[in-house]
Point group: C2
Chain length 204, copies 2
């Protein structure tokens, strides 16, 4: 799971530092973590860390950027997939929920430490969040246009659906009763209900 | 808002320390905050802090305990109110969402710093969370028993509804487009849809 998540990050040392950063930030919070802590977890010296990341903030930014891009990519693939709006919405929710369950530690760091990003990095991440929002919204709009969904407030529903899915990262436990796939399947059903998709349409 | 939230905490100095703790934990995280920081924000000496709270953990525990009890109390009042299950569920969601929007800083600290509680305090808070879950679940069960709701998985739906409402604390902004009341009203509608409550029943 970890290697798949960070596969795009090279070289190996840079990737090890990112995963060490995720663990340290998740356990102690960004502000209580030093670059020395992170380097130590990765089995490296502080000097070796600075070869790959100039600051602790740059490391957080890279974690946030990779996390946001992967989640956005999932939604874009669902939006562009074949099928009815209901099928595309179900796929979007299943994949987004599964990602937030499987990568719950990364997702929590990414969501809860946004305020620690520098101004330019924060603006860049906000751009990715707007794109995420727009991607899900376009599926809801397509369903409304085709008469498959009945949504009085598409923008508000978009925020609520993303919020429901993201918050899986907060409560998901690896030793819990349900797998990420099962939660994703169940949430797809709940979200189709939120979208006012009639029962016979949900299976189409 | 702040004074209403902490009204039960006396004397005044103990209450000031709690609100200072919430601000400090929210800005820097629990582990990066010292009791000296908190005392300073409250305009007190570290020694004065220890009169009211023996440790930083005890202060977090008090914040968490007050926050959880207030949120549970809202749900219990909704559960025990007059009206159909749909009306009680709508009230529960409206009040719970409004609380999490108005007290978003406290709610974030309470939710994100659970892991920092000591073992006994953690167990006590988990008991409050189980009671919160059971309270909302009982409204859903009543609606199913009366044929007003159609929920294939009451436990899973309970978790999802609470999660949706709690996560308002993460994304709510005081300068955003919607008031806490408006978000609560909209979420009540979304949750009645999740509960499979037919449109004509939602108004009853």
């Amino acid at each position: 799971m970890g290697s798949e998540e960070w596969a795009e990050v090279t070289p190996d040392a840079a990737r090890r530092l990112l995963t060490a950063g995720v663990q340290a930030f998740a356990e102690r919070g960004y502000h209580a973590t030093t670059t020395r802590d992170i380097a130590g977890r990765a089995g490296m010296s502080p000097a070796a860390l600075y070869i790959h990341y100039r600051t602790k903030e740059e490391l957080l930014y890279r974690i946030s950027s990779v996390g946001h891009r992967l989640a956005l990519e999932l939604l874009r693939r669902a939006r562009d997939s074949a099928g009815t709006p209901a099928q595309r919405l179900a796929r979007a929710v299943r994949d987004f929920v599964r990602w937030h369950a499987e990568h719950h530690t990364t997702a929590r760091v990414v969501q809860y430490e946004l305020g620690a990003l520098g101004e330019d990095h924060h603006a860049e991440i906000m751009e990715l969040r707007r794109a995420t929002d727009a991607t899900l919204r376009s599926i809801l709009e397509a369903g409304v246009a085709e008469g498959q969904f009945s949504v009085p407030d598409v923008r508000g529903t978009t925020v609520a659906v993303l919020s429901l899915c993201v918050d899986v990262a907060r409560w998901f436990r690896e030793d819990g009763k349900r797998t990420p796939e099962e939660i994703g399947e169940f949430y797809a059903e709940l979200v189709l209900r939120m979208a006012g998709c009639a029962e016979q349409q949900r299976k189409r």
